[in-house]
């Protein structure tokens, strides 16, 4: 049965070999070694132990910082939703007034998404000074890109049937949009936005590290002075609040779709 070899089998092995080469090349690039990993373990363990005994006197301030981070996420997500909404329709192949508009707006959305929130936050901190406002703008802009792309995908998968039915009944463009397009996309838009809010709540906690306000500000100061017990307190607040938001948000999303 020598002839019974699946054609193209060699491609699999070539792929595995290629991956092995790239893996070793990357490991050398980051100077990863088992020795260095073991060397760092005792210090890592000490830090973890220090964080496990949080400084409860910072509980209140951590919580207040977290509230600001959540506010940043909430406002940022809302800004993203509002800006993504028109862009998504202009970028969609089926609803967009023109093929060129679809292409152009898709590229705009792609461009926006190339910038990580933290880089955007650095820009906005430089322009507007440190604080939560810069964080809100960074999250708002990034969410515009990511929500816009996801919204556009929803718009492109709607059932054209109801649109035809409304046109046949004498509806103009605005009425077709309102009665055939909106009811199809709105629940999906809201579910995606809630999911984005969960991601943004996490992102907002990190943005403080570059001066964009919220609980990250407390963390970055505590880190500077190696106050691991304060870092531990802030982390605990982040974990609890983020978990609560995730639970509530995913329960809501299940009801929407």
């Amino acid at each position: 049965m020598a002839g019974l070899v699946e054609p193209g089998r060699w491609k699999l092995w070539a792929g595995v070999g290629l991956f092995a080469v790239v893996f070793i090349w990357s490991a050398r690039g980051v100077e990863a070694s088992l020795f260095r990993f073991i060397e760092g373990l005792p210090l890592l363990a000490r830090i973890v132990v220090l964080m496990l005994v949080p400084d409860w006197s910072w509980a209140g301030r951590s919580l207040l910082g977290m509230v600001v981070s959540v506010q940043v996420a909430l406002l940022g997500t809302t800004i993203g939703m509002l800006l993504a909404f028109p862009l998504a329709f202009l970028a969609s192949r089926n609803i967009s007034p023109h093929a060129a508009s679809s292409y152009l707006n898709k590229q705009v959305l792609n461009l926006i998404r190339t910038f990580p929130e933290i880089i955007l936050a650095v820009f906005f901190v430089a322009a507007y000074g440190p604080g939560a406002l810069a964080g809100m703008m960074a999250i708002g802009l990034h969410s515009t890109g990511s929500l816009g792309k996801l919204y556009a995908e929803v718009v492109e998968t709607i059932d054209p049937g109801p649109l035809e039915a409304l046109r046949a009944a004498g509806a103009n463009r605005a009425k077709v949009f309102w009665y055939a397009v909106m009811p199809q996309v709105l629940p999906e838009f809201l579910a995606l936005s809630l999911y984005r809010f969960e991601i943004n709540a996490r992102a907002a906690t990190v943005l403080g590290l570059v001066g964009a306000g919220g609980i990250g500000t407390i963390m970055v100061q505590a880190l500077q002075f190696r106050r691991w017990e304060i870092v531990g307190m802030a982390l605990m607040v982040i974990i609890v609040v983020v978990t609560l938001i995730d639970t509530a948000s995913s329960a809501l999303r299940r009801r929407l779709v």
């Binding site: 059932d159 049937g161 039915a165 046949a168 009944a169 004498g170 509806a171 009425k175």
Partner: protein, 261 residues
């Protein structure tokens, strides 16, 4: 003979890419008729139906509705005429996650001013008309149910209720029973017959021979974008259909018997 309600004069439709769906169709329909358009899939039935309300623009020829040249009508006037012509579809074309009530209300928006439509501010009379349509199709107890939980037959009745909510003069039905089982098909066909008996013209695309013969007054045969037969339904026999289809008849050219007699 009175002037026809719907008239197609030399209508041709070419789609981009060189496909010609209709090749010079002449057809006139009198008020109150029940006309079945039969033919194989691809013969141009859907295109023909959609030229009547100009969902498909004729490349040549003209479409007349109650003495008015629709092909020359300005956009706003076209919308007014469309509001008087109900349409039902093979796949129902409902907003699946909206309630039955909202779907049927959509039949009223054509006559509503845009700002009232966007606010959802329907006049009391509209709500009464919608209620009447739900009653007529016997789906009033489903008004607040999401459309996608209904059976196919019930969804098609929502589609018919939406068309009736327009208080139409004509109903265009594009293969309305093709996705339904035989008993449900007959239920829907009887609904359409009842509507027709109340004075609404029905123009229906069918590929089931027995349904066309049983329910229609008149059969128009379409092959390759041309009308190849036009006569009273009572005079149509299997030979006529073989001539329209250009091949011998098969069992799936028939929908089958009505279980309820």
């Amino acid at each position: 003979m009175s002037s026809p309600q719907i008239e197609l004069r030399g209508v041709e439709v070419h789609f981009p890419g060189g496909v010609q769906a209709l090749r010079g169709v002449d057809l006139s329909v009198q008020r109150g008729e029940f006309v079945a358009i039969v033919g194989l899939s691809g013969a141009g039935k859907s295109t023909l139906l959609r030229t009547v309300n100009r969902l498909v623009e004729p490349t040549a020829g003209s479409v007349w509705f109650e003495g008015e040249d629709l092909t020359a009508a300005p956009p706003a006037r076209l919308l007014e005429v469309r509001a008087q012509i109900g349409m039902i579809f093979q796949t129902f074309n409902l907003v699946k996650r909206s309630s039955v009530l909202r779907n049927v209300l959509a039949g009223r928006v054509g006559r509503l001013s845009t700002w009232r439509a966007l606010l959802g501010w329907f006049p009391r009379r509209d709500l009464e008309i919608v209620h009447g349509a739900l009653l007529k199709l016997d789906i009033q107890d489903k008004a607040f149910v999401r459309a996608d939980v209904l059976s196919g037959g019930q969804q098609q009745r929502v589609g018919i209720a939406r068309a009736l909510a327009q208080e139409p003069k004509v109903i265009l039905a594009d293969e309305p029973v093709a996705s339904l089982d035989p008993p449900t098909s007959h239920v829907v066909m009887r609904d359409l017959r009842r509507i027709n008996q109340e004075g609404i013209t029905v123009l229906i695309n069918l590929h089931f021979i027995d349904l066309a013969r049983e329910y229609a007054h008149r059969v128009v045969g379409l092959r390759d974008g041309q009308v190849v037969y036009d006569g009273p339904a009572g005079e149509v026999d299997d030979a006529t259909f073989e001539q329209i289809y250009g091949r011998a008849l098969k069992s799936d050219d028939f929908r089958g018997l009505d279980a309820e007699g």
